[in-house]
Symmetry: C2
Subunit: 221 residues, 2 copies
């Protein structure tokens, strides 16, 4: 059966910089929309990619030199009209990376742009980014996912500030720490950050605890 | 660019029957796996389908004669190995329908099978169904989605029983009613169900309230 489909993957890589969620964009090197900033993306290579996740990892690495510890399928945008070349499928992924690792890996290959102030982007990339931000903010209310916006080692203050920046609201310190303690997804390390304040314990996320779900309501009634 | 991709949509239509979540399956009428029960699915028709949601609606209606009031994109399963014909993409949707409507619309065209006791199905259809059930159970902890397993008019007792069957646990009646009241997604009708007990008020879901989110935890700290 002849379908004439364009199958691509696009990656929304988010980071925290200057207190704002920012997205990695890249100037397109070919038409359509040559020269415009857009999400890193590319064709699925059926000879090379075992599945769509492998394709997303390959495209992100080839295009930006970035490797993210968190890469999750977001949504599939598939229609006759989203791409001027024809009926097109974008299996979209979102990824998270701390700003220091991101800048050290390949900062000459991409631009960073705050997600709350984006220009008009090619295809439906504005919509894809909006979906990723909504998914991240939503997951931040019940999971450890925001940890991936931090470097490997972080203090509890760093963690609270990260949740606050993602959620866009202040959280009560003692309630936050009690909740994080209950959720039990951190390992205390033997290290501490020293400075003008008293030393602050450094933590890391416990492997395999990355998607621990927080309590929800109806199931607890 | 020649990609040689098979692009399909598959629909996991769930209903409640005999106190259990059941899924609509259909005997395949062609190879591969001819004669085996599988999810209703089919190729995207690029000449006809404007987008993948339209394709899912068309395939569900053409194959089963069913129209669901709730159809949501679930996940995209895309790999070199999931289909013996080649590199294949299934954009999967899940749908909900009450058992009475379902049986009246086209019961000679499909089979119903409890989701907790499935045989080995073709392709990765067991995995697709597992994902749909997990999504439904998860969403049932914070949304009005289970309402779509009920007919248009229902009592609060019907509603509680539906949540209980989906979640697989008993809920406290007064806490459940308080939560449903707070969430404010129901319209009381002027009708009541009469019988051996005192008349019970009938409700319907308020349009556009179908995805109201319940309180979560971290954002409320």
């Amino acid at each position: 059966m002849e379908q004439n489909i364009i199958l691509t993957v696009d990656v929304v890589l988010l980071t925290l910089k200057d207190n704002a969620l920012q997205v990695v964009l890249q100037k397109r090197t070919w038409d359509p929309y040559k020269g415009f900033p857009a999400l890193p993306g590319g064709y699925v290579h059926t000879e090379e990619d075992l599945d769509s996740l492998a394709a997303a990892k390959r495209v992100l690495k080839d295009k930006t030199a970035l490797v993210s510890p968190y890469l999750e399928q977001l949504y599939t945008f598939a229609s006759a009209t989203r791409d001027p070349r024809g009926w097109s499928v974008s299996i979209s992924y979102y990824a998270l990376l701390d700003i220091e690792t991101l800048m050290s890996q390949g900062s000459d290959r991409f631009l960073l742009h705050p997600v709350d102030d984006l220009p008009q982007l090619p295809f439906d990339h504005n919509r894809i980014i909006d979906s990723a931000v909504q998914r991240l903010r939503n997951k931040s209310t019940y999971s450890a996912v925001p940890c991936y916006l931090l470097p490997e080692l972080f203090t509890l203050s760093d963690l609270q500030q990260t949740y606050e920046k993602v959620l866009g609201c202040k959280l009560d310190k003692s309630a936050f720490r009690r909740k994080i303690g209950e959720l039990d997804f951190l390992d205390a390390t033997s290290k501490a950050r020293t400075g003008v304040h008293r030393p602050a314990q450094l933590y890391r996320i416990r492997p395999a605890k990355n998607l621990v779900l927080f309590d929800r309501t109806i199931s607890k009634i």
